[in-house]
Amino acid sequence: MTVRMIMAEFSTADALVSAVRELVGTKGPHRFETYSPYALSEIDDVLSARGAGPSKVRTIMVVAAICGALAAFFLQYWSSVVAYPFNSGGRPYNAWPAFMMVTFEITIISAAIGGFLTMIIGSNLPRLNHRVFDWEGFERASDDRFFLEIELRGDQEADGEVRAVLDRYRPITIQERGDATAI
């Protein structure tokens, strides 16, 4: 089943943000996504007010850090207490304060790797192509244009309201097409 999509291109961040703010107030709600050349914290605020949860990245980082710390400590503990006890100047086999440096480094790097993978996979990356790149002029989303893509619902009244909102903020272009996959 194809979905009708509408894409509006704005020249300023402020126009995009205002359009999004108004859009969430319309009958719908419509599913939408914004594309911008830098991070717009205002969009995040709008989305969280609408009930979007925080990014999973940091949760996974904490979990990865704990796993890394345990693994690093137990590797040291096991190898110097069980596998290869080595008496160096009468110091204890389980010299846990001395084990803390390696534990610390592995904790940090585990969080870093876990977070990186979560960021990439959670953003649906890496991928070679995406349907959003098929919009005319989309290459400027990484330069100086701000895009708002909205999934139409096929309901005349609600969709008319979306078009009215977009027109009010004077987008440079508006395009519409049918797409095989939704946002």
């Binding site: 594309y35 991070a39 480094e105 592995i106 990186f116 953003s123």
Partner: protein
């Protein structure tokens, strides 16, 4: 003519600067992209080709010195049975110090929301990456048999041996490996949105595909930016303690021994400050030619340099304090070896180097009390180079002085670097410059997306 077609310099002429002087008062997003990306898509200049060529000679030199070392063994160096740590260890400590600063600068400035960061963090991080990678080579060469370096790693082996986890040298191996990996992740993450910009700006199919692959398919959706910011700030927060731990471990390599002048509790923090100091000096030394060569005067301004000069001044003061604390601790310990080492530092055969180091690290940055010197490119560059020289002298003197003048007078000895010591040091410098020049031509030298964000906040773009 519309603003979109003007360059940064013309925009400053037309509109003046923003109130804090960081960028032109009017600077559309398109101009920001073009200012930074232009240096990449322009045809390589003759100057750049010459620089790459000359630095490549350094790379060849580095390769030859390594080859000779592997064939002949560590006997080609000036190290002897007493002064066992020579240039290789000093170079390692110096390079890792420079390597620590890039990440530290980038993370701390991000966390403290210093808005001028956006222009310098990218190449400060690149500097980190290359310096840390070069630093990682030296301990491998220092041990003399790099092909056995994997013995340091914990892995099940037929001898059922495990690493000595109580040794700072093992901590060091983990610290460097984790740090290099961390730096790559941090740098690359910040690059992804800019690689997408280059992908979309590239004209030729090959460059488009190449940048496209590394951009991983980034499209700038709100979902991607949310994950990106969440990760990037978390990494910055992790980066600061990591950097502090790395150079503390380097300090512990020394402090955990029993040698006079090394066995001091001040070593870890003293090494961390020294790393920040030499790294900032290197950033200043690199900034001045970069902003000139890439024409980034509207993005990297005198206010940026002024701010960095103030940090150098602070670093110089803390270093001077650390040196005087070393003298005090030596005297206060009451130990004969400690006291005689202090005298040896000032008046021994290496004394002239020690005085030179004090002048470079303690005295030279004092110029920055005056605004005129903080904003003068020539004094900034000269002091930057002097601090780099001074910090390198400090690293080599820590090794030479203590090891040549230990506890037992009968083992007092003298270390003189050989030609191979010098060639290898020079070669490592060539490798660093070579990587850096390549970087400046292939990757945006400043973070484009962060400058856009800054322009929006400053009201220069809407």
């Amino acid at each position: 003519m519309s603003d979109a077609t003007l360059t940064g310099r013309e925009l400053i002429a037309n509109h003046g600067r923003t109130r804090d002087g960081l960028m032109p008062a009017e600077m559309p997003y398109g101009t920001i992209t073009d200012e930074v990306a232009a240096a990449i898509f322009r045809k390589p200049s003759r100057l750049w080709l010459v620089l790459v060529g000359v630095s490549f000679l350094g790379v060849i030199l580095f390769g030859i010195s390594i080859l000779v070392l592997l064939v002949e063994g560590t006997g080609i160096w000036g190290v002897n049975s007493e002064v066992v740590w020579g240039f290789a260890v000093a170079n390692y400590v110096w390079w890792i110090g420079i390597g620590n600063a890039g990440t530290l600068i980038s993370c701390m400035l991000l966390l403290t929301r210093q808005r001028w960061r956006a222009s310098i963090n990218r190449y400060a991080e690149a500097m980190t990456l290359f310096a840390a990678a070069i630093a990682g080579i030296f301990p491998l060469l220092h041990v003399g048999r790099p092909w056995l370096a994997y013995w340091l790693a914990p892995y099940p082996n037929t001898m059922t041996l495990w690493p000595q986890w109580r040794s700072p040298l093992v901590w060091d191996m983990f610290a460097i490996a984790c740090y290099i990996l961390f730096s790559i992740l941090f740098w690359y993450t910040g690059l992804i949105p800019d690689l997408a910009t280059l992908r979309d700006k590239a004209k030729h199919r090959f460059t488009k595909v190449a940048y496209g692959i590394f951009a991983l398919g980034w499209n700038g959706s709100s979902r991607q930016w949310k994950n990106y910011n969440s990760y990037y700030y978390a990494m910055a927060a992790l980066g600061v303690p990591l950097v502090v731990s790395i150079h503390s471990v380097v300090g512990l390599d020394y402090a955990a021994t029993l040698m006079p002048g090394w066995q001091e509790t001040i070593f870890p923090p003293y090494f961390v400050v020294g790393a920040m100091f030499s790294g900032f000096a290197m950033v200043v030394t690199l900034t001045i030619p970069i902003r000139w060569a890439l024409g980034l005067q509207s993005i990297i301004t005198l206010d940026h340099l002024d701010a960095m000069a103030k940090i150098l001044l602070l670093g110089g003061i803390i270093m001077s304090f650390s040196y005087s604390f070393e003298w005090f601790a030596g005297w206060y310990s009451g130990g004969e070896a400690e006291r005689s080492l202090i005298a040896f530092q000032f008046f021994g055969p290496y004394g002239w180097l020690y005085w030179m180091m004090l002048a470079c690290n303690g005295l030279a940055p004092q110029l920055f009390w005056w605004r005129r010197f903080r904003r003068g490119l020539v004094p900034l560059f000269i002091v930057g180079v002097l601090v780099n020289v001074g910090m390198w002298l400090e690293r080599i003197l820590i090794n030479m002085n203590t090891l040549a003048h230990g506890h037992l007078p009968s083992t007092f000895s003298f270390y003189v670097p050989t030609i191979w010591d010098w060639l290898m040091f020079l070669g490592s410098f060539g490798l660093f410059c070579f990587l850096f020049f390549l970087f400046a031509k292939v990757i945006p030298a400043a973070s484009i997306h962060e400058i856009r964000e800054l322009a929006h906040k400053e009201g220069a773009a809407r």
